[in-house]
């Protein structure tokens, strides 16, 4: 009897482990285990990292990738003031209309506008990128197994030359962490790719770290409030359940 229960427990444990690992299989390496400030139970985003990451997105990623679910107004959440957000938005042009004559027209963006995509449609994006479609980045951290660590791994995992005997197709790059190692995106980051206004040294690791944190925020803008609410809810439930248990024992004591 006891052995059967132990057997069941072991099987259950194995199942949980296998289910969570099932998708990580493949020939890509396990993503590096990188340190993040926001992943723990009490974790919050570092505003300086977020703003630097936004700068990397703006100056590097945005030339090919869209960020469809983020509006300029959302940038207030990563520590920009309302005036700064207005200034950032005004650097972009968006299409509006139709006007009184029925014509569409371009105007500078307002905080309520969403980030304009670099290409008008996926066909245009493909034709400009050798047939590959650069995916939207808003949800990237949630949309890939391995999440944040995987994303960081991709950004730092490029190799100039593939290992001996590896056939790399025309226009592709070699990446340690990409499934199949053959990635259509050329290495996006290089030393001093952007000039950080706060003087932080723009090494590849730093750039990759900052932009990963920024994309963690675009994927889960509710992360901080979610964890803070969760803590309150768990404390409440723990106290509530303990009190109920005491009452339960008192009520049942009358039965015996």
């Amino acid at each position: 009897m006891r052995y059967t229960i132990i057997l069941v427990a072991i099987l259950f444990g194995l199942t949980l482990v296998t289910i969570s690992d099932a998708d990580a299989a493949g020939d890509a390496l396990e993503p590096p285990d990188h340190e993040w400030s926001h992943t723990g139970v009490f974790g919050t985003f570092d505003r300086a990292e977020l703003q630097r990451g936004f700068q990397v997105f703006q100056e590097v990623c945005a030339s090919c990738h869209s960020l469809n679910y983020i509006a300029f107004r959302n940038l207030i959440e990563i520590g920009f003031s309302e005036d700064q957000v207005k200034a950032i938005a005004s650097e972009y042009e968006v299409e509006d209309g139709p006007d009184g004559e029925g014509e569409m027209f371009m105007r500078s963006a307002r905080p309520s506008d969403y980030f304009p995509a670099p290409f008008a449609n996926s066909q245009a994006a493909r034709s400009a990128n050798g047939g590959s479609l650069p995916p939207d980045l808003s949800l990237m951290v949630k949309a890939r197994d391995g999440g944040l660590d995987y994303l960081y791994g991709i950004l730092v995992g490029y190799e100039e030359e593939p290992p001996d005997g590896f056939e790399l197709a025309e226009g592709m790059s070699y990446n340690h962490y990409f499934p199949g190692h053959q990635i259509a995106m050329p290495e996006p980051l290089y030393e001093d790719a952007v000039e950080y206004s706060d003087g932080t040294e723009a090494s590849i690791d730093q750039l990759a770290h900052d932009v990963s944190v920024f994309l963690a925020w675009t994927a889960e803008p509710e992360l901080e409030i979610r964890k803070q609410t969760g803590l309150k809810v768990l404390i409440f439930l723990a106290v509530f359940t303990a009190l109920i248990y005491i009452i339960k024992r008192r009520v049942w004591a009358k039965l015996h």
Binding site: T4, F12, L139, G147, R226, T229, G230, H256
Partner: protein, 431 residues
């Protein structure tokens, strides 16, 4: 049950015309429950609570969601980003579905262990199986609504199963899709049905509770209630016990909602549905994995579909497949072992379902699928004939109240009628 005397005139006035107060009293307060129900009996009311959570969060989500292929994914993100507490509603609803299935599966296995499906509770059990079918339909259609990659491809794979039906299969699939592919028509009707099914569920749950309260709850000893000494009023005893269980369940649910909201989900469902890109692995949610393993264990498509449906439908005839007269596994030493082997079998099936159908997974999946059916069709009928069961206690109160019986609760009936009260042992620390 005598009509209770209500204190307030207005209550008396209403109750005379519509006896809702008497009814509530009869079913939620005075309802005589066996005095020995253990914590495995919490899961029925927990399931009822989860149904309410799903309906409340679902109604709110439906206020902000748009069932259209061009807007479904966007409106889901709108809920996550722009709707006040929208992320919490959606994560509660998505993880609540998993919690609902955890609770329901424990509830079902409790029924297996204590023989709760046996006479006179067969119809109560049937209603439970219908509830399971409705839940599965509801969960599947709900998973399609965000219109991510897994939503789309799960819908494609599962609806295509119907094409295995001879003669009418293809026509049936076209009819179900409302077109020639999984598209807007299907999304629309799935939304409509996803909203409808929970209310049908409520109706079946009502019948389930009606049947339960008519023949009263089973209990860990599996013997009938014989006198009022065997029962205690539902309130306060089981209301407070259920509240305690509720607190623990909500704690577990909150850990997932607030700290691991996507742990049970598939990452590719955060990619918008694309009919031109097939994902490398199409897997259902965890609560469908054992059925998925059975489906794939049969090399023939139609055979697989039949096996999958039969794996649940077989529960309808379980009360007659189990030929043992004894309900509770406590008095069935062999069944107790086979019960746990069956639990292990279901878990292995889930593990196989999560993995691609290749290599040894195929063989393991087939062995476990065959065992699954053998448990119901061979083991249970034979056990009832050959198993030597332990003697049943005389009554619930004699078995569980130390003052009523010279024996402990091991289930051995006392030799003498229990009118000779032995010195009362201290009852502290025991409930």
């Amino acid at each position: 049950m005598a009509t209770p005397i209500h204190r307030y005139r207005i209550v008396q006035w209403i109750d005379y015309r519509l006896p809702i107060f008497s009814w509530t009293n009869e079913h939620l307060i005075d309802y005589p429950a066996p005095r020995n129900l253990n914590y495995w009996w919490n899961f029925g009311s927990l399931a009822g609570f989860m149904l309410v959570v799903q309906i409340v969060t679902g109604v709110i989500l439906a206020m902000h969601y748009t069932p259209h292929v061009d807007h479904a994914f966007k409106s889901t993100e709108h809920i996550m980003r722009d709707v006040e507490w929208g992320w919490m509603m959606r994560y509660l609803h998505a993880n609540g579905a998993s919690m609902f299935f955890v609770v329901i599966y424990i509830h079902i296995f409790r029924g297996f262990y204590y023989g709760s499906y046996k006479s006179p509770r067969e119809i109560l059990w049937w209603l439970g199986v219908i509830i399971l079918f409705l839940m599965m339909g509801s969960a599947f259609m709900g998973y399609v609504l965000p219109w991510g990659q897994m939503s789309f491809w799960a819908a494609t794979v599962i609806t295509n199963l119907l094409s295995a039906i001879p003669w009418i299969g293809e026509t049936l699939v076209t009819w179900l899709w409302g077109g020639f592919s999984v598209d807007n028509a299907l999304l629309n009707r799935f939304f409509s049905l996803h909203y409808l099914l929970p209310f049908l569920l409520c109706g079946v749950v009502f019948l389930h509770i009606w049947a339960l309260h008519h023949r009263k709850s089973n209990n860990p000893l599996g013997i009938d209630i014989k006198s009022s000494k065997d029962t205690i009023p539902f309130s306060p005893y089981y209301t407070i016990k259920d509240m305690f269980g509720l607190g623990i369940m909500l704690f577990v649910l909150a850990i997932f909602v607030f700290y691991l909201p996507n742990y049970l989900g598939e990452s590719i469902n955060y990619i918008e549905a694309d009919p031109l890109v097939t994902p490398p692995h199409i897997v259902p949610e965890w609560y469908f994995l054992p059925y998925y393993a059975i489906l794939r264990a049969v090399p023939d498509k139609l055979g697989g579909v039949i096996a999958m449906v039969a794996s649940i439908a077989i529960l309808f005839v379980l009360p007659w497949l189990d030929t043992s007269k004894v309900r509770s596994a406590r008095f069935r030493p062999l069944y107790k072992q086979f019960f746990w082997i069956f639990v292990a079998d279901c878990i292995v099936l889930g593990w196989v379902g999560a993995n691609p159908p290749e290599g040894s997974f195929i063989l393991i999946g087939r062995i476990c699928s065959i065992y699954y059916f053998a448990h119901f069709l061979i083991i249970l009928p034979l056990l009832g004939k050959f198993e030597r069961t332990k003697p049943l206690p005389e009554s619930i109160h004699q078995a569980v109240l130390p003052s009523e019986s010279p024996q402990n609760a091991s289930g051995v009936p006392p030799d003498d009628p229990p009118n000779t009260t032995s010195p009362t042992p201290p009852s502290t620390g025991k409930q």
